[in-house]
């Protein structure tokens, strides 16, 4: 593949067959992602998709871009390290609600605060699918479908958009895997956002949450991008969890992590100067040092 050629969505897919169950919402997310990348005309070698563990975290291997499938809950730190070390790359972190909001929840808060230039795409199905159907952070407290919590998890569901808003994310949106074209547009917008962009995608698990087949009837495109964080909070007061669209887009991106790097000059000279800082000679009063 040459970056100069016009690439189609299928060019961003690998030959590896997904492990996902038939009907999984994540197929739609993969399609939307490859559409978005093709639409943006990004060279595959300039894109990296980073994930943790879970059904949706298998996504990187199904793309033809660079991928990293790490340990459970740590997609965001890996993506942050890559985005900070290689700011010219397009970095997309991805995974499920358990990976991102439970075991990786702390990283979610701090990634929102840190505002490194990356996109966080969560495929939210309110269940741990890979381990066969346990309650996740976004499961309702009375969801009694798991043998692990037969009376329901009994704790309040995690509210990703409110939390992202509180923690300072600059771009916050919700999409639906059943609408690949709309999702592709949202993804393209998130990827283009110059900072941390969070996109919650409702992505049904029809194996362990068959009732999620009803999502199609429940979602409605209701969010219009707000630029004021307080207004966005107010908008969420009437959100039933199925409103889609861009909720919040900070007009000016929050300050990115400070880049104190100095122009790459003579590395050897810089190292020599650093070594001189250790010498006894620097402890003299004359201020001068002639090697």
């Amino acid at each position: 593949m040459s970056a100069a050629a016009v690439l189609k969505p299928k060019d961003y897919k690998s030959a590896t067959r997904p492990v996902w169950c038939p009907g999984c919402g994540d197929f739609g997310v993969l399609n939307a992602l490859t559409k978005a990348l093709a639409g943006l005309g990004l060279a595959p070698e300039q894109v990296a998709v980073i994930s943790g563990i879970g059904c949706s975290s298998r996504l990187p291997a199904y793309t033809s871009v660079y991928g990293f499938h790490g340990v459970h809950g740590r997609a965001l730190p890996v993506a942050t390290g890559l985005a900070v070390a290689r700011p010219e790359l397009t970095v997309i972190a991805t995974g499920g609600d358990g990976d991102g909001f439970s075991i990786g929840g702390n990283h979610f808060l701090h990634a929102c605060r840190r505002n490194a230039n990356l996109t966080y795409l969560i495929m939210d199905n309110a269940v741990y699918g890979m381990t066969k159907g346990q309650a996740s952070p976004t499961s309702a407290p009375d969801w009694a479908g798991s043998k692990l919590t037969p009376n329901g998890p009994g704790i309040a569901a995690f509210r990703p958009l409110e939390i992202a808003l509180s923690a300072g994310a600059g771009f916050i949106a919700r999409g639906f895997s059943g609408d690949p074209n709309g999702l592709a547009r949202q993804l393209a917008e998130a990827i283009s956002y110059p900072g941390f962009a969070f996109l919650q995608v409702l992505s049904p698990c029809i194996t362990y949450r068959p009732e999620q087949m009803e999502y199609k009837a429940l979602v409605s495109a209701g969010f219009e991008p707000l630029a004021d964080r307080n207004e966005a909070f107010r908008r969420l007061l009437t959100d039933d969890g199925f409103t889609t669209g861009v909720l919040f887009r900070a007009p000016v991106a929050a300050p990115a992590p400070a880049d104190a790097r100095q122009a790459a000059g003579d590395e050897a000279a810089a190292l020599d100067a650093l070594a001189r800082e250790f010498t006894a000679a620097r402890l003299r009063g004359d201020g001068g040092y002639e090697p």
């Binding site: 871009v65 499938h69 004359d286």
Partner: protein, 592 residues
């Protein structure tokens, strides 16, 4: 043997003993001396009592001596907490301020000569005077550090506070010096060593090229020199200085540092940066290393180069954050789940921290593996005057990038089987090199697999690249040719080295083997180094003999080999190791 002079400056937090101690060490460096200064705090890290523990000599020294020749106490605070750390030599000089009450029993009962100097009053008599500067004058006089060198150093250090501060400090130094010489008997410094080879204060000379630094700074420098350009940092005692040093310096060579939210994040940020082709390092201590372990296994499986500098402290759990112990060898080598071979190295002294850190980076980059560098609190936080490293620190090991295989229709084989176990490597940005790095067992292409052929093949490949690599002479330091050997590692090397010198002086020839490469165990090199040895002692600073058991698992040791080890918080001292050596020798003589 190394003639040297050891002294302790004690006082409560804020009294300025650390400043005084550091200025004295710096002045000694200007005067051409070698030496070191350890900082002793209580468990609270900030506040409370503090002691600056110095040793000065005319030959290189990198460990504390058996006892102290001088104690200067600004006040007595909770001196009991330090008493264990302050064994006084027979005839040691104790300088006490009568204004601070009587000399506490733990000190008074030791075999020292107590002299009273009204330190606080002398300081009060000088406008702007400070007791710690009086104490510095006292200590410099009794340790035979030339007054000119001290004054030069103090002038430079205080210049930014203005002429009045400098003048007050200089007056305090003079008052302290005069009082010290008066109470101890003029011109009778307790230092046995004559001062004829002392260099004029600050006069140009090769001694000014020596480094005055701690092991944490040296570790940061070595990593930077070897090419590290990314660091993710989460603060933890006693490793923080590595991170702080890098924070100020990485930008000067085009690198970046990120403060992470926890150690789970810092290790994974390093993995991300290194996956992106940027050599990465993080530094931590036991609790942080424990949190990083799962992701270190990921770095092994996904073959991501990186270095973790683990600065050991007393454990387990929170343990004693401010005290040294060689207690993390087991977790560093064996802590990863599954079978995850990687590299573990340890510097053998403060002076060795930069070269070993550079080597760690080089090994990580060459072998595409995580490398754990085991430093410890004693190396990391002891400010030491050392000769600058002689060898080349620059980037010996670099990645070999191969963006596209010959057959460009084939997808990239990131984990291709090779004879030496090292696969071609790609990195984001290189066209045709796309792959997905994975912690799942994978094929040569990086595609998840549960097939036996892939699992065993990749396990074999990752072991092979470590076992077949030629680590060269850096695997260990060898000294002497006696038929009794001491094997040791890390900060224990320096007191062992000194114990061996003392044994030699008593006519007992000892062979010293200090391992820099701890895993994989350099078994054949070690066996060759121990050729002809009839008995062996394995010395380390921990409770269970971790190196001894590790070596027993991987190599044959001479018979008999004795394990000699004890935990912190007290530092290993040459005298006790000499005792163990003499005991082993006596056993052999009795058996013969």
């Amino acid at each position: 043997m190394t003639p040297s002079f050891s002294l302790a400056l004690t006082g409560s937090g804020g009294a300025g003993v650390m400043t005084a101690g550091q200025l004295l060490l710096d002045a000694a460096a200007l005067a051409g001396r070698y030496g070191l200064m350890a900082r002793s705090f209580g468990p609270q890290i900030r506040g409370g009592e503090a002691a600056a523990l110095l040793r000065l000599a005319r030959r290189p020294v990198e460990c504390p001596d058996d006892d102290y020749d001088l104690l200067v106490a600004l006040d007595w605070g909770n001196i009991e907490r330090f008493a264990d750390e302050l064994p006084l030599a027979a005839g040691a000089v104790i300088i006490a301020d009568p204004g601070q009450g009587g000399v506490p029993e733990v000190i008074a009962t030791q075999a020292g000569r107590i002299h009273e100097i009204a330190i606080s009053q002398l300081a009060r008599d000088i406008p702007g005077g400070r007791p710690n500067m009086v104490a510095l004058g006292i200590a410099a006089a009794l340790a035979d550090v030339p007054g000119g060198a001290v004054e030069t150093r103090v002038r430079q250090a205080l210049a930014r506070h203005g002429d009045e501060s400098v003048a007050a400090a200089i007056a305090c130094l003079a008052a302290g010096r005069a009082a010290a010489l008066e109470v101890t008997g003029h011109g009778d410094p307790p230092s046995a060593a004559p001062s004829e080879d002392t260099v004029d204060a600050g006069a140009p000379g090769p001694h000014l090229d020596r480094w005055v630094l701690n092991g944490n700074e040296a570790t940061g420098f070595g990593a930077l020199a070897a090419g590290v350009r990314f660091c993710a940092a989460y603060p933890i005692t006693p490793a923080t200085e590595i991170l702080e040093w890098l924070a100020g310096r990485l930008p000067r060579v085009g690198g970046r540092l990120v403060q992470a939210e926890d150690e789970l994040a810092s290790i994974n940020m390093c993995i991300g940066a290194s996956f992106g082709g940027v050599p990465a390092l993080t530094a931590t201590a036991g609790p942080g290393l424990s949190l990083m372990i799962e992701s270190l296994g990921l770095a092994v499986a996904a073959e991501v180069p990186l270095v973790v500098a683990n600065v050991m402290r007393g454990g387990p759990s929170t343990g004693i954050p401010t005290k040294s112990e060689q207690t993390d060898l087991n977790i560093a080598v064996y802590g990863l789940h599954g079978e995850a071979p990687h590299v573990v190295v340890a510097p053998t002294g403060v002076g060795d921290c930069a070269p070993t850190a550079a080597w760690a980076v080089s090994l990580a980059e060459t072998l595409q593996t995580p490398v754990i560098l085991l430093s410890d609190q004693a190396l990391g936080q002891t400010r030491t005057i050392v000769d600058p490293p002689g060898g080349e620190l620059a980037r010996a090991g670099r990645r070999r990038y191969v963006a596209r295989h010959d057959d460009s229709t084939e997808t990239y084989r990131r984990y291709a089987m090779t004879a030496d176990g090292i696969s071609p490597m790609s990195c984001p940005g290189l066209p045709g090199g796309q792959y997905t790095a994975d912690g799942l067992t994978h094929t040569e292409h990086g595609i998840p697999s549960t097939r036996a052929e892939d699992h065993v093949g990749q396990l074999d490949k990752r072991r092979r690249k470590l076992e077949e690599y030629d680590y060269g002479p850096l695997w260990g330091d060898l000294h002497g040719a006696g038929d009794i050997a001491v094997i040791t590692w890390g900060s224990a090397t320096q007191p062992v080295r000194e114990a061996c010198q003392r044994a030699e002086a008593c006519g007992l020839a000892v062979r010293l083997v200090a391992l820099r490469l701890l895993s994989p165990v350099p078994a054949s090199e070690l066996e060759a180094a121990l050729g002809g040895v009839r008995a062996c002692l394995v010395v380390e600073h921990n409770h269970s003999g971790q190196l001894y058991r590790h070596l027993r698992a991987w190599t044959e040791l001479p018979h008999p080999t004795l394990a000699w080890h004890r935990p912190g918080p007290l530092p290993l001292r040459p005298g006790e190791i000499l005792g163990a050596l003499q005991g082993l020798h006596a056993q052999l003589e009795a058996a013969a």
